[in-house]
Structure formats: structure tokens, C-alpha cells
């Protein structure tokens, strides 16, 4: 059974979004996504300072078998990336909602159009 924490928002492309108290947005891929990818062996992360529109490919997670695009769930500027993933891409498998986060974005405007945990849980059921 895939874990779907209730405090997060989700996209249909299996990204999770955490709204931080300061308005920043932390992004990663879901438990379900890392399980379908299986062993993540390489992650291509964006440069800090890059602007993305919602839906742009902003990162790529690669397993032995496949490369999977990760889309920006919100529009905004990348202000931090998870550098640990360069050395330890397996953090995405081991801790998808915590140590395996991907990027922190300063969103352009209020975050909208994301799914709550129930909607996402139903979509993968």
C-alpha cells in the first residue's frame, strides 16, 4: 500500500507539494512514484534561480530501466535543491516524503489546482 500523507498536496504526475509556513513550496515525488520507478540511480535537478511555469519539466529521475520527467507543480523560482541526491539518489526510494525531497520553489502566486491526499489516493487505487 502506498503511503499518502494527509498534510501534502499532489499532482496527477505523482509529485507531492508541501506548503511551508513562509509560503515557499517544497516538492518531491510520491511513494507510489518511487515504487513504480524502483531504484533511483540518478537525479537531474534544476539550477538554483531558474524560473519554471507550472507543467514545465524541471527535473528527471532515472532508474536502471527508465528516465522519468518531473514537472513543476507550481510556477515560480527554484531557491534550493536537495544536493544530497547527487551522492545518494536512493534517498528518493528510502524517504520519498522527507530526505528525498527535490526542490524548494518560491511560488509566483498562490498555489492552486493541486489535489488533496484523498483525491490522489483515489487516483492510484
Amino acid at each position: 500500500m502506498s503511503e499518502v500523507p494527509e498534510n501534502l498536496f499532489y499532482t496527477k504526475e505523482h509529485e507531492w507539494v508541501l506548503l511551508e509556513k513562509d509560503g515557499k513550496v517544497r516538492i518531491g515525488i510520491t511513494h507510489y512514484a518511487q515504487e513504480s520507478l524502483s531504484d533511483v540511480v540518478f537525479v537531474e535537478l534544476p539550477e538554483i534561480g531558474t524560473d519554471y511555469s507550472k507543467g514545465d519539466v524541471m527535473a528527471v529521475a532515472e532508474s536502471v530501466k527508465a528516465a522519468s520527467d518531473i514537472y513543476a507543480p507550481v510556477s515560480g523560482k527554484v531557491i534550493e535543491i536537495n544536493n544530497k541526491l547527487e551522492e545518494s539518489p536512493e534517498l528518493i526510494n528510502e524517504s520519498p516524503y522527507d530526505f528525498g525531497w527535490l526542490v524548494l520553489i518560491d511560488p509566483e502566486r498562490d498555489v492552486e489546482g493541486l489535489w488533496n491526499s484523498q483525491t490522489y489516493r483515489d487516483s492510484i487505487a
Binding site: S38, D39, V41, F42, V64, A67
Partner: protein, 344 residues
Amino acid sequence: MDIKQTPLYEHHQKLGAKMADFAGWVMPIQYRGIITEHKSVRERVGVFDVSHMGQIFVRGPQTIEFLSYITTWDMKRQKEGDCRYCHILDNKGMIIDDIIAYSISSEEYMIIPNASTVDKIFDWMIDNSTEFKVDIKNSTTDFFCLALQGPEALRLLGQHLNISVKPFCFVKIGETIVSGTGYTGEFGCEIIGPAEEVSTHWHSLLDMGAEPVGLGARDTLRLEKGFLLSGQDFDGGQSPLEAGYGWVIDWHHEFIGKEALMKQKKTSFLKLSGIILEERGVIRTGFDVFHQGECISSLTSGSLSPSLGKGIGLAYIDLPLNSAVSVEVRGSHLNARVVRLPFL
């Protein structure tokens, strides 16, 4: 086309394997994960269901003459109980398939072609056998094939069947053949027997601690050793010389494709070469290879090497070892180098 299942299909599902279509068979791609399974084979022992591999029997008084004519190897050099890896070529000297020939007796051989080429090889054999007194039978679906591979494989085989096998030799027990062969570059064996007996072998080997391994790790294991993948590293347009497999040819006998190879030998040709990535990343089959700014080839195989932690691939190129090349990954060029095979 119907999708075929191996006799272990339900057992794979019970183990939670990710299944996918491969060469017309629904096969386990991975169980616990490609990297874990890969490392189990390199460090301990893994078992693969490779029952999709073909079994074609050639029987009759001219079995040896026929197989020597249709393969790159002179089967007169084989003894009973020997296995031989060699190629079957077309008239232009291009590889149709790579096979293992099992010398059961002077009048009976078993041929193991790849799953994707069984029908093609069977038809090719029939078409070229009119001058020979042989009977050719495709028994692929009657047999299972399990590959037990890794440093501990022979210990498990001893515990399981109380036998041992040497590399490229086989032992026959009733209808079951156990050979010192495999596709991982590790010590090990392949067990080929009547389909209905497979689950006894499978469960016994799992109970003794063999890790079930899928086709995903089978691919990374073989790629690290530079072994060819049928349909990828050769697909009808490459000769054994180009593939770097000149050693499978016995030049002292007549065989289909020999004349073309003799001509090719005198020319210069591209060679299948190892390419290793010098930066982080994963290179994949089909990605373009560049040298001095020019696209010179594309990868016939590519993956991450779980043992080396680096991107590795194969490509037909004509560059000396150590040449600097690059591989295009999503629009950027990653630095790579031409290296000697095998990678590991």
C-alpha cells in the same frame, strides 16, 4: 501474436514480480529491485527463469555436418557433453543469432537460440537442411530453463542435484540437462528440463537462498561483461568480426557466411566498442555518440552499471581505445571514453 507464459508465471506473480512482455513472453523484469538482484548475482547467487529461451533439437546421421555448415563452429571438434557458443550467419556473413550448441551425441544436438529468434532460426535451419539427413524439431515450449548464477551457484547445484558442472560442459540426468553456462559472467549453470518439473527446481533453489532475479538485472549483468543482446547489439546488419566475436569462427571449415567474412576481414570496419561515462548520468540504448563534435554512432545498449556506479554502453565505432567521445543525453553532451571490453 499470443503472449506466452513460462511454467513459473504464477510463482513470479506471487513473489510480486514486475512483469513485462519480452520477445512474445510475459517475463519477470524485477522482484526486489534491479540493483539488489544484480549485486546478489555478483556477490552470492541468483536464479533466473529464462524458459523463454529456445530449444531446437537436431537429430540424424548428419547432425554434425549440418550444424558445422550452419554455424561458425566446426562441430567435429566437439565431444559429447560439450557446449559451444557460436553464431548463425546469413549468406552475407551477418549474425542472425548467437546460440549455444549442446553435443548430446554424434546424432543429437540441442540448440539454444534467443527467444526473439527461435522461429527465424528454426525456419533458417529447415530451409538450409535439404542436403542433409537431419530431423529438426522446435521443442521450446516443452522445456523450462533456469539459470543459477553467482559465486555460490555451484555449491547450491551440488546441494540441489548432487552434481557439478565445468564451464561449457553439461551433464544429462534423464531428460534434464545441466550445463556450465550463463549470461552474467559469473560461475554458474543452466538447468534445462521438462516444463512440468520446473517448480520443484525453482522452489528448492529459492529455499537454499538463491535470490530470484529478473530480466532487468540480467541485462545489466550481461552488459558489464560485454555480452551481446540479440536484436540490439546485432539485428541482422552486423558480422561477428564487427561485434568483436571473431573467436566464435573456426576458419578451417565451410559454413554459411564464410566467404563474406573472408572479404570483410581484408577491409576496415566498425567495431562494437565499450563506452563509459566520465560524469554522472545514465546512458541508454539509442542515444547518439559524438566524437570531435560529429555524431558518429548510437548506442546499441546502454545502462547504469550497478557494479561500477557509472553509465556504460556499446556502440559500433572505429576509434582507438581511450578516445574521448560524448553521449547526448536530453540535449546535453556528457563526457565519455572508449574502453576495452568487458567493463568488469
